[in-house]
């Protein structure tokens, strides 16, 4: 016959069961964060120097020092919907791209853990991804059209450093209107030399065909500047993410 528990033992047992339930709840909540991370795995453009996705999430201490040093405030931290990746930095290029205003990637220098690799000292070594003309039919250059006005409208808050205007301070893109006979914004504002160029669309080089097409080369680091500046809604050029980490 089973021994009857005293009231004190019953109370202790209840406490133990309740503790186990609450403890399991805490661990379960932690593990549930796997799902949101998994869902966003392929969607976030990581800052310059970011290690391969899994290593980045493991080594990032979620402090945001990279956010603080970025002169154009391109870097933001994942919210709770990032799951295990909560507090890990990413860049929403269409909203505010990294334009290397800081010259040497400051975020890389700021990172205390090397989650943004310290083996990188030139912007040309960055490998965040590669630009791709995702909607060629929408591209103005491919239609032979120019662009006049503010690249992303008057309300756009994005910043860009125009070296000819101010070497040290990025300004609002909305404060820098353009008047271009042929739209070449993605090539014009690209911070990396020879990463993207305008090529004739047809073999007919005569004036009769003014159409051009942006061509992305291997030197492209995927900073997203072209995606931010593209005046078409929605953008005609996007970044294909690199998830393998830096080449250096």
């Amino acid at each position: 016959m089973a021994k009857r528990l005293t009231p004190k033992q019953q109370k202790e047992r209840r406490t133990l069961v309740f503790s186990a339930v609450m403890g399991a709840g805490v661990v379960g909540s932690g593990l549930m964060a796997y799902l949101p991370m998994h869902l966003r795995w392929e969607t976030l453009l990581r800052p310059p120097g970011a290690l391969a996705e899994k290593d980045l999430l493991a080594s990032c201490i979620k402090c945001g020092q990279c956010v603080q040093v970025c002169p154009v405030e391109a870097i933001v931290l994942s919210d709770g919907d990032g799951g295990f990746g909560i507090g890990v930095p990413y860049i929403d290029a269409r909203k505010q791209a990294c334009d290397f205003s800081c010259d040497t990637p400051q975020c890389v220098l700021a990172c205390p853990t090397g989650a943004l690799t310290h083996h990188l000292d030139k912007k040309e070594q960055v490998n965040m991804g590669k630009a791709r003309l995702s909607r060629p039919d929408a591209c103005l250059a491919r239609q032979g059209q120019g662009f006049k006005g503010k690249a992303r409208g008057a309300d756009f808050k994005g910043l860009h450093r125009y070296e000819k205007i101010d070497r040290w301070n990025p300004i609002k893109i909305a404060d820098h209107p353009y008047d271009l006979p042929l739209c070449d914004l993605c090539v014009r504002e690209c911070p990396i030399k020879d990463a993207i160029s305008m090529e004739p669309l047809s073999k007919d080089q005569a004036e009769s065909d003014t159409r051009r097409t942006p061509v992305v080369h291997d030197k492209c680091v995927g900073c997203g500047m072209c995606e931010m500046i593209c005046p078409v809604e929605k953008t005609a050029i996007v970044i294909d993410l690199n998830r393998e980490g830096p080449k250096v």
């Binding site: 290593d55 945001g64 205390p112």
Partner: protein, 330 residues
């Protein structure tokens, strides 16, 4: 040495050890016997009645002399992070998990531990950062981090006030948990980081979430903090800080050998139990119960957060902060 072992065992969730009479010092034995005399007992009761009649002393806290500094400290430390970023003054860049204090690396011990286990690499900056932070909090008392710096501790204190108020009205009651749970969770989160390669704990750490929310702006992660506070108000008093937080436990290990400590003096104590009512970790105050102190002066264990609430609550000044020398360490 036994002092430290007992204090660590208590931190890990063990029940307070009842000392046998032989372990009591002569002075303590004499004092306990003296306190048990019928006329002494009468005098003690009379004194307590006197206290209760005095309106200023009838509250649980007779003063907030430490709390005002403590709350100021929490707010100032967290505000320094916010102001540094907002005005770009580069005083403390980063968040509580890791930062640069005027250029010097600082890293939270538990966050650094988690990412080291997850990434399986030793990073020199983190070694520098954790040693700096470790020395700092060792000096001022280990879990002093909790009550003097942690932003979650502050909101949790407010939740606790609501809990106590409602419990006083009889609307709710506290459901205490088994304190060994924190040790189990500590090991689980270490294993999870090691096995999965993700910093699983960081995704539910209200300390990191709140610190980042203050500096970079809040988001959906704050609902988790809200859920924890809900539990603390209605179900389990100080659920996170008392039974879960591995950060607190990590700092607790430092606190076991820290020079700053709260000291209990037996002769001044009337054994009213006010200190245990306000304490976040009342098991460290076990010696304040009648006939439990094995010596006339004793220091509180590693789990003590040096918040000073017991000092404020004690009507007779039997508890005080003390700086112990290296001789008193063991």
């Amino acid at each position: 040495m036994r002092g430290i072992v007992d204090s660590l065992r208590l931190l890990l969730g063990g029940a307070p050890r009842k000392q046998s009479r032989e372990e009591f010092s002569d002075a303590a034995q004499e004092l306990h016997a003296h306190k048990a005399l019928p006329e002494q007992r009468k005098e003690r009761i009379a004194k307590i009645r006197e206290e209760l009649a005095e309106p200023t002393l009838s509250f649980t806290h007779k003063s907030f002399k430490w709390r005002k500094w403590r709350w100021t400290s929490i707010i100032v430390i967290n505000l320094m992070f916010v102001v540094s970023f907002y005005y770009d003054v580069q005083l403390v860049e980063g968040a509580l998990t890791a930062s640069r204090f005027v250029g010097f690396h600082m890293a939270d011990l538990n966050s650094a531990l988690q990412i080291t286990l997850a990434h399986k690499q030793i990073v020199i900056n983190l070694v520098i950062g954790t040693v700096t932070v470790g020395i700092l909090w060792w000096l001022v008392g280990g879990r002093a981090f909790c009550s003097w710096a942690c932003p979650y501790h502050l909101v949790s204190e407010w939740a606790e006030m609501m809990h106590i108020w409602m419990a006083g009205k009889g609307w709710i009651k506290d459901h205490p948990l088994d304190r060994r749970m924190r040790t189990v969770l500590y090991v689980i989160f270490i294993l999870l980081a090691l096995i999965t390669g993700y910093t699983v704990f960081e995704s539910i750490s209200p300390v990191g979430i709140l610190s980042r929310a203050l500096i970079y702006g809040g988001g959906v992660a704050l609902t988790w903090v809200g859920a924890l506070l809900f539990i603390e108000v209605f179900l389990v008093r100080r659920f996170w800080c008392r039974y879960v937080c591995p950060i607190g436990m990590t700092y607790g290990f430092l606190g076991s050998v820290s020079p700053v400590i709260v000291e209990y003096t037996l002769p001044d104590c009337l054994h009213e139990g006010e200190c245990r009512k306000v304490c976040l970790v009342p098991h460290v105050l076990e010696m304040t119960k009648k006939n439990r102190a094995e010596d006339t002066a004793l220091t509180l264990g590693a789990d003590c957060t040096r918040c000073g609430m017991c000092i404020e609550a004690c009507p007779t000044g039997a508890l005080n902060f003390k700086l112990r020398g290296t001789g008193g360490l063991l």
